[in-house]
Symmetry: C2
Subunit: 492 residues, 2 copies
Amino acid sequence: MKKDLSFIYATQKDLCTLYGIGALLGWDERTHMPRKAVSARADQQKLIHDLIYEKMTADKLLDALHRLREKTLSGKDNLVVKELYKDVIKARRIPQAFCQELVKTVVMAQATWEAARYKNNFALFRKHLEKVVELKRQEAQFIDPDKKPYAALLNEFEEGMTPEKLTDLFDYLKKELITIVDHIKGTPRYSGQTPVRVVMKEDRQKAVIGEILKKMRMPSNRTSCDVSTHPFSIKLSENDVRITTRYLDPLDSFFAAIHEAGHALYELGISKKYCNTVLFYAASVGLHESQSRFWENMIAKNKSFWSGYFPQFARYVDAGFTPESFYYAVNQVRPSFIRVNADEVTYGLHIILRYEIERDLIDGTLSVADAKDAWNCKTKQYFNLIPSSDNEGILQDVHWAGGAFGYFPTYTIGSIYASQIYNHLEKTLPDFDRMIRVQNFNPVLAWLRANIHSKGKSMPADDIIAQACGSGLNPKEFVDYLRAKFIPIYER
Amino acid sequence: MKKDLSFIYATQKDLCTLYGIGALLGWDERTHMPRKAVSARADQQKLIHDLIYEKMTADKLLDALHRLREKTLSGKDNLVVKELYKDVIKARRIPQAFCQELVKTVVMAQATWEAARYKNNFALFRKHLEKVVELKRQEAQFIDPDKKPYAALLNEFEEGMTPEKLTDLFDYLKKELITIVDHIKGTPRYSGQTPVRVVMKEDRQKAVIGEILKKMRMPSNRTSCDVSTHPFSIKLSENDVRITTRYLDPLDSFFAAIHEAGHALYELGISKKYCNTVLFYAASVGLHESQSRFWENMIAKNKSFWSGYFPQFARYVDAGFTPESFYYAVNQVRPSFIRVNADEVTYGLHIILRYEIERDLIDGTLSVADAKDAWNCKTKQYFNLIPSSDNEGILQDVHWAGGAFGYFPTYTIGSIYASQIYNHLEKTLPDFDRMIRVQNFNPVLAWLRANIHSKGKSMPADDIIAQACGSGLNPKEFVDYLRAKFIPIYER
């Protein structure tokens, strides 16, 4: 047993080291890599992936796990064996040749998606999307032949979540969100609102972001903040979790950096005792997203926050704003076409629309040929808007080109979890509002570390939230949170 | 035979891919990596090194090479087999456990060197240097038991070069350099010279460097220029060769960037037909250094260059300079303690001093305990100066702490080659001076590509120079070049 255990720990350490190398290759590709290096980079990535596949599917590893599963193990060993076994079984079910075909297909599909976006023409992308959908249906069969295909894919991002549960949850949420939006649209404030304007030079944006990250306790010796087209965060090792932002619009760069820092703090806060094991990762994608959204929406778009923080922004903001009116301005609700620009209320509707379409595409009840009509039709239903072009509609997100079916729902699962955390902290942390106003985030971060971050993958995400906040995924809390925040903004 | 050939080419491709990944790990470590990530980075590097070692020492590879060496092969295949066989034999001679001990020892030695520098006290570093010297002597025995130890180490950096040849060459050069310096020190210009001052903000330095790199035809889609404490250049793949500089002093950042760009252009110019083989690398370290020094000293410190380029610098330069006097100012000769700040004339003396000491350390005729005295004594002899502290003397360079014995001579070999290239181009390229004045470097780069860069490792460095310039390593040409450049500066 001792020999088996030390073998699986050594394997996990090698796997984590390889994941870290792969992460560096990916980070660099999106930040600093010269453009023409792309093909050699693909070779480098492939070599690392092949090594991971080899290690993961080695018979010796499966044999060791089989033997260990027969034994009574201590807490951590038991969890490690359970999680690693799942990963190994999954890796062994998907043939390597299939993986390679899938990777090649999504690389081509993403390039074609970009070209189609450039021409604003979904028809150019359709065939590629069909191929991706086809392969993802096959992949779902490999992963779990007993599940409906979408259920298998969804489970990869949010373990334990099912399309049945999600459809119920989203049907409820859709109704509530549309009600809130309709209510807001009926207020005089809604028709009078105009966008906020902030003009700030890049080096000033960098300085502002540097200060807020410091207040969030992003450790400068364990993180970095670079520039990329699309902001992201990535873990390279236990003391190396990086974020990016982009310096176009000052509010965009500000909120994006805070969002990504929320992700990074999660990874940085996972208990060191899980380092170099399969438990040293987030419990789910939805829980990961809850951390970024919590910091971005619940903290950095909070009324108390802006009441204390506005003076630092004031000289870059159009005249006439007060801390309060600026808070209103950064929280404007407005139905629109583009998900990434959406406010907290309508964001969920964008997700539900995508969820319904991707579920039906993967389960075979909607064809790619009909997907554009479905998109436009749902946009009319949920937003009362009609996309004037494919870029405003079905072509706006890269996720499907990349094969990430089942990913979209995690954004809203994250929002729901974040609202539960916020509701809980507001009730239980003494002096919460004052702390946010003076930007003293230490107690909040300490709570997140103790109750969310440190757990890593040692518990299911939903159990972590239930233990921390009193109940598992609870869309009603999210609706209550939205009402409590946004109705006063529009009925003031 | 076909099977063996395709196996060795596949192995070389994997090796190149692994070298590229290792290069990225190293580049990142010196540019962007958060400080605390160092231990996980060491694990990542070790994993890649182990994979390289495994591939390189696989019996299957040696067997294939043995079989291929019996065959008559075409030009490229023949060269590939010859070079790869040398690498394989060498890798197999050095036991992996020894490699690991050496790596651990130099990591510790480098850290101790930094600490010793901080305290300006060689005694703190002595024991570590002794250990490194001891291991490098052993390594030399592994590499080639028939050679004297220093000869074996020198051959690693500059294949074909021997300590016998080098001692002769350096004895000649030492005499000539001291004569030139003495001559210069006797001129009235020498005693009257004062350092040039340039004050330029970092973003302006970046812009200036961006422009000059563009003129050097550094392709922006195949390169990048980042910041690091010590400037360096590194190849990650055929279309990814990066340089760094540091933005402290504007002339330092300018010349450092040009120096590193010279290295990068070499790597970028190696013929694509050698890509993913053992020939896709520089012919020697000395030849590599010739490229950086050519651009830095022969081009960017050239009189014609500054006569055309000075206006772009003029407003950042202390009043009173003309293009001509600025050229004099950036070419001041002055015996000093510190190698990296040395001018073209005294630089060689710094190298000769280090060569003589490291040769004797490795061959066992000088003990580490006596090295400091030897250093100070030679500094008196060659520069007529006495180091006032260890940082001004034996502690100034990291090379020995890193185990790079045999590296220093390549700097001067590079200077000699560079002077031969310069003398040749000045004679043979029509309109050479005018082109340099208007910063049209295209014909120079085209010549370098055709005659130096493209060859990769397909020929010995000295043969490349002989073919391109009419003779192999020729210190007399270097002395002539220095006399022709510096005597007029001081006798004007």
